[in-house]
């Protein structure tokens, strides 16, 4: 099964959710996760593979901008149109308070000297909203 966690950005809270699902990032050092605040991954607009267990289970994160509901609906219908079912792939949105701020932080991360501050603030925001992120993760079973 494939699971895609979608967030306003795909390299902050959605990435943390994807990592938590596969048992990574428990130490709380989220900014050291592979792909964290990576502007290249974010600007590609494509799902970022976080984990592949080699048995067909893959976990991705994806940034879709400020309208999570719209993206979730369109992606769900698109997957159906392609002939796949909910047992093949699951799209799970990760809404947290202040998630639109992540869009600003990823824009700031593009400016070299602001990257460190941006990462620090993103990590703080994630820690503050960790309960909501974990709740989203708990709703997913692979």
């Amino acid at each position: 099964m494939k699971v895609i966690f979608i967030g306003t950005t795909g390299v902050h809270h959605a990435l943390v959710a994807a990592n938590l699902l596969v048992g990574q990032g428990d130490d709380g050092r989220y900014s050291s996760l592979r792909g964290f605040a990576d502007t290249g991954i974010e600007s590609s607009g494509k799902p970022f593979l976080v984990s592949d267990d080699g048995r067909g289970n893959q976990v991705y994160s994806l940034g879709v901008g400020k309208d999570l509901g719209l993206a979730e609906r369109a992606m769900g219908q698109f997957i159906n149109i392609l002939g796949f079912e909910s047992s093949d792939i699951m799209v799970k949105k990760v809404p947290i308070k202040g998630d639109k701020l992540m869009l600003l932080l990823i824009a700031l991360a593009n400016i070299g000297w602001l990257k460190t501050i941006s990462n620090f603030l993103a990590e703080r925001l994630i820690k503050w909203q960790l309960r909501d992120i974990k709740q989203c993760v708990q709703q997913v079973k692979i």
Binding site: S44, K46, G65, D67, L70, I81, L82, D88, I89
Partner: protein
């Protein structure tokens, strides 16, 4: 193959492009307002339709044609959907086409007045005039898309042989 035309509201440029693709309107002359209004979904969408992929028909090569309104997500949305298609190993079965870059100011103003402000009597004539002005650009977009679809289909057939 599935071809999805998308624009801001999934109501004007994407619907017109899909209609051209399907031959619902003639492509050698701009359509009249009555012809545009007779198209399914043209200037008829609501807020609930954002993010809904709506079926418009099947073309002569058996391609399924859809329209989608994705608000201001621009080309990012094409990348998102194509990324998912790649992930599922279906990238060669899908074309996601952004019709927004063929939209002119009249279409934006008319569309906004009709759909967002909710005064169709005022917005419709403006959006219809804008659509007529952008018509041959939309025809061009559709022709490029049809060529891409044909190319993909030939490539697929070649792979099978």
């Amino acid at each position: 193959m599935k071809i999805i035309y998308h624009c801001f509201g999934g109501s004007h440029s994407s619907v017109t492009a899909a209609a051209i693709h399907l031959g619902l309107i003639e492509k050698h002359r701009p359509p009249s307002m009555e012809e545009l209004m007779s198209l399914p979904y043209f200037d008829k969408t609501t807020n609930q339709d954002f993010g809904s992929i709506r079926f418009m028909g099947v073309d002569e090569f058996n391609n399924e044609i859809y329209v989608l309104g994705k608000k201001s997500m621009s080309d990012r949305f094409s990348n998102i959907l194509m990324g998912i298609a790649e992930m599922l190993g279906s990238a060669d079965q899908v074309l996601v086409i952004n019709a927004m870059d063929r939209v002119n100011l009249s279409m934006k103003l008319g569309g906004f007045t009709s759909r967002r402000v909710g005064i169709p009597s005022l917005g419709r004539p403006v959006v219809a005039r804008g659509t007529a002005r952008a018509f041959f650009q939309l025809v061009n977009l559709v022709e490029i898309t049809r060529l891409k679809a044909l190319h993909n289909a030939e490539h697929e057939t070649g792979d099978l042989v």
